[in-house]
Structure formats: structure tokens, C-alpha cells
Amino acid sequence: MIDAPLTAVSFAPLVVALPIFGAALAFILRRKRRTQRLVTIAVLVITLCLEAWMLATVWGGGTYSVTLGGWAPPFGISMVVDGFSAFMLVVSSIVSLAVLLYATSQGMADGDEDGPVSIFHPAYLILVAGVSNAFLAGDLFNLYVGFEILLTASYVLLTLGGTTARIRAGTTYVVVSVASSLLFLIAIGMIYAAAGTVNMADLAVKLPEISPGTQTVLHVMLLVAFGIKAAVFPLSFWLPDSYPTAPAPVTAVFAGLLTKVGVYAIIRTETLLFPANQLSEPLMVVAGLTMLVGILGAVAQTDIKRMLSFTLTSHIGFLIFGVAVGNQLGLGATIYYVAHHIVVQTSLFLVAGLIERRAGTSNIERLGSLAKLSPLLALLFFVPAMNLGGIPPFSGFLGKLGLVQGGAELGTPVAWALVGVSLLTSLLTLLAIARVWNRAFWRKAEDATDPDPLLLVGVEAARGATYDIVANEPASRYSDRGNTALLPNGMLAMTAALVLVGVALTVFAGPLFEFSDQVAGQLLDPNNYIEAVLGTGQGVR
């Protein structure tokens, strides 16, 4: 492995190291905002190119491992690149780049040259490094470190500015995250005591030799720790509580990436460490409850960001369903659905940010007329919303179809019940989305309760009205708006780009499904992974 020829995969550590160096540089440059932005964007573009190259290398199949520091596995730190991790890396980088450009455009539009957010760019890069590290980690402890890097960055991003609401939400978020991390660390300690290794490939060989009771304990502990991070039902209540208070781009990137890292870890646990599907049935029940409870919460909300946070937790249930089904069909559909969900949920949060900007609020009781005032905004909401609701021919429909097929192929009563629940959830998602659409976009603003003056009259007249309000009440909720552009082109363009990526997932569904099916096959045969890390002839099953 040390003498391996130089390929794209040899650069895997750079995917983690570059953003960290970039973060340091961006922090040094915090007084020079323009350079700081440039550095951040350049780092993310380079990372994305590297990841795309890696994905091209593993597209046809194959698993590669990079050993760091010259210590032979299982003692050294390995980074593993296979179809799944490379795919997740590319999708997450596309999303984080789009959100960064959106945030940059927002910052430039507001002219926040001396705003309190000079920490935003460094923290954002650290977050990206943590996510990449978690996707590449070849041992459990490195996965833990990846989680901690991304969580610590997320604490900073969530409490940006330190307002009352953010501090309140941030406290809950930090305490819950720390509790889940401690649980994960306990699980790692126990696994090391039981198996004498934390290398995942080595564990895949050694865990089956442990007594079944101990195995179940370790398995459950890992699932609970990852379940908190992925927001799976009984452990999901922190998410809708904390996400909506953050700035729009931060919520968008959290919604896209953080929970999916948890899902990624669950998929690795279920396919590599404990491939026997012992906990398949309980996982299915949990998946069903995640979908139902989440979507019922979404239907009750009046705030768009909170509604989207609830649909986010609800749709995590679909992913867990696919993992629990555990056959190639279900797993393949899950991988496709993860990509779909990352892109669509992020674009919806970006649109919510635009709505908030245009209308001064994201509360649907106070919104109206948006379809008339900004048809482009309506279109940008409509496409990902229909996509989320699973309307054919969008990718949401295709992913759900694959999951339902996987469940039907398994054919147990619980699996059939889950198929029913997932269809009901899709229907309720549509209901929640339709409420937002009817109120925010279709009805007249005059019918809303306490609508923003910007919704009632033309833009120029509204500006005048806003100036008057600001002049009379400097501390009012309009004071941060002055003469800033209502819908900056950069923000619209980035949202549109992400919506287009979502549409591209539909257009290229054929090759993507073929790829995810092949990746699922790869995941179901852990020998690929084990042999790539430990060398040939080490696989057991």
C-alpha cells in the first residue's frame, strides 16, 4: 500500500487537509473579507475537483485504501475510498459549494464588511473538513474525530452572532450532540475491549468471533449514537428545535449534510460491521415511526423553516427503511435517495431564506402574493417541493419507488407495513407543502394576518414604507433592511443551480441508479472493503 502507484485516491487525505489549511488561512485573513471569500471558494472548488476525480476512479467498482503515517493497518490510520464514500463526498461538496456562494452573495449584498461573521468562512471550511473526514474514515476512532470536527464547527455556525434565540437553540444542540458523542466514545471503548481493534475492516473480521450477546450490545450502542446524529425517531427532537434559528445558509448546509453523515455511519455499521441484519425489524419499526412522527410535526407548523426541519427528520425514516430492508434493491435506492434528499432539502432551505428576505418573515400566516411578486421564486420553491413530495417524474418519486420495491422484495409483514407508512408519509408531505404553497404563494397578501408592507405594494413604494418605519422605529424588525437588494442575483442563481442539480438527479436517474445499485452490491460484500484495507486473502465471508 505504501508502494502503491500514485492515483487519484492517493490524494484522499488532501480532501480533509486542504479545507483545514484553508480555514487557518481564512482566519488569518479575517480583516480582508474579499481575499477571505476568495480563499474559501478556491479551496472548496479544488476539493470538489479532487473528489470528482476520485469518483471517476472508483466509478466502475473497486475499493482503495490510503494508509497514513506509514503504520501498516490495522494499527495506522486508513482512509478508504469506495463508490459510496466518493459519491457522498462529491454530492456533499457540490452542496456545500453552492451554499457557500449563496452565503457569500448574501454577505456582499448586505455589505457586511464589519459584520460579526468574519468567523463564518473558517468555521464553514472546518465543517467541510469534518464531513469529508467522516466519509473517508477507515476506523471508528477516526470517524469519531470526523464527527467532532464537524460538530464543533457546527456549534460555532449555529450560534453565529450569539442572539437570544440562537443561544437557546445552540445550548440544546450542543448538549445533545455531546451526549451522543460520549455514547459513541463509550461504544468505541467497549468495542476495543471486546475486539482489540478500532479499524473497521479489522472489526469486520473480528466482531463475528465475539459472543452474540456482546455483539448486540455493541451494535445497539453504535446505532443509538449514530441515531442521535441522524435524527432517527425517538432521538430526533433536538433537530426541529435547533436548526430553524440559524442563518438560512447555515440551516441549509446542516440540513443537507449533518444528518446524512449519521445515516452514512449507520449504513457502514449495518453493512460492514454487523452485516447479519439482526436488528433489521426494530430498525424498520423505528424508521416507520420516524417518518410518521416527523411528518405529523411538519403538518402542524406555521413557520416554513420549522416545517422543513420536520420533513427533514421525517424523510430520514425513508433512508433508515432502505438500510433496514438490507437487500441490494433497498440499499441501492437508499444511496440514490440520500443524494436526492441532500440536494432537495438544501435547496428548499435556501428558498426559505429567500422567502424570509423578500417577505420579512417565514411564518406562513403572514405571507401571501409571492407567486405574483416573484414568479422565479415560486418556481424555485415549486420544483424541489414537488420533488420532496415524491411527485413523478422527479427523483423523490424514483427513490421512493426503489425503496418500496426493496420492501416488497423482502416481503415480511413489517416491510409491507413500512411500504404503507412510506406512502402515507409522502401524501402528508404533499399536504404540508401544499399548505405553504397555498398561503405563501397563491393567496393575496391582503388575506394574511399582519403582512409585511413589502408584500402589499410594489417594490419601490415598499422601500419608501420601510424607510419610514426604520426612521420611526429604529429597533423594529425592518431596521436591518435599508437599501439592500431584496433578492440578490447571486442568491437566486445559487438556489437555481441547486434546484437544477436536483432536476439533473432525475434526468440522469438511469446511470445513477445503475451506479448506486453497483455500490449497494459492493456494500453487501464486505470482502471488497476488508481486502482493500488489510490486503488480499484477509476476507472471511
Partner: protein
Amino acid sequence: MSTNITLLIVMGVLFAVGIYLLLERSLTRVLLGIVVLGNGVNLLILSAGGRRGEAPLYRSALDAQEYSDPLPQALILTAIVITFAVTAFMLGIIYRSWVISRADVVADDDEDLRVSQQSTFDFEEDSPVPEDTTEFEGEDAEPAGNHPEKGPHA
């Protein structure tokens, strides 16, 4: 694998105290709980390394079995650094929360309370739709709004 009973008891106490504190509503106690729990976990990882042995520095005369396992110690070092960072951040949040609201407790979510108290009746969705909305003037059609109570029975 042998474990040290004293360490086990200390670990148990640390976990119990840590979880108790974590469940409090006061933020400072929650932070203390996290610190205590973190130390409990570190002890757990330490005892996962097995019995103690010689310092893991290579000496040619020593048999491989004589060394103590260095990996858990490396893991603990990393964990300590992470706990340190998180503790510092938590302190920052607690101080900020104190500056803002002069309170050291976890606050309720206003939006949550509002949603839980809202009535099940939704004016836009649940109010009855007027029946007679036809715009065609027929011989038996009467102007809408004259007797809306009659509805379909008319």
C-alpha cells in the same frame, strides 16, 4: 482480560454523577456533568487497554507481551483535547446566556409552546366553504348569500 475493580467502581460513580448532573436544567451543572462523564469515558477506554505493563518504548530485551497497550492512551489524549474544546465553548455559551437573559437554565422554545397551544381549528382550511358560488343566472338559481344556511338541501 482482567480489569481493575477500583477503576470500575470509580467509573460507575463518575457515570452516575455525570448523568445526574446532565439531566439538571441549570447549564453550569450540565457542563459539570459533561466534564465528569467525559472523565468516566476516558477511564473506560483506559481499562479497555487491559492490564498495565511497561512503558511502550521499544527495548530489544523486552517481550511484546510486557508492554502496556499504547493505543487507548492515544485515544484518551485525543478525547481529552476534544472535551477541552467543547467545555471551553460551553462556558462561552453559558456566559453569553447569562449576559443576555441573566439566567443559567435551559430556556423553553417559544415556537414549540405556541404550536402546542394552537387550536385544532384552522380558519383558512377548516371554515365551511360557501356552497352557492355559481355565476350563472338560471331560472331556479337564486342570488348567492341570501340563504347560505340552506346549502345543498335547498
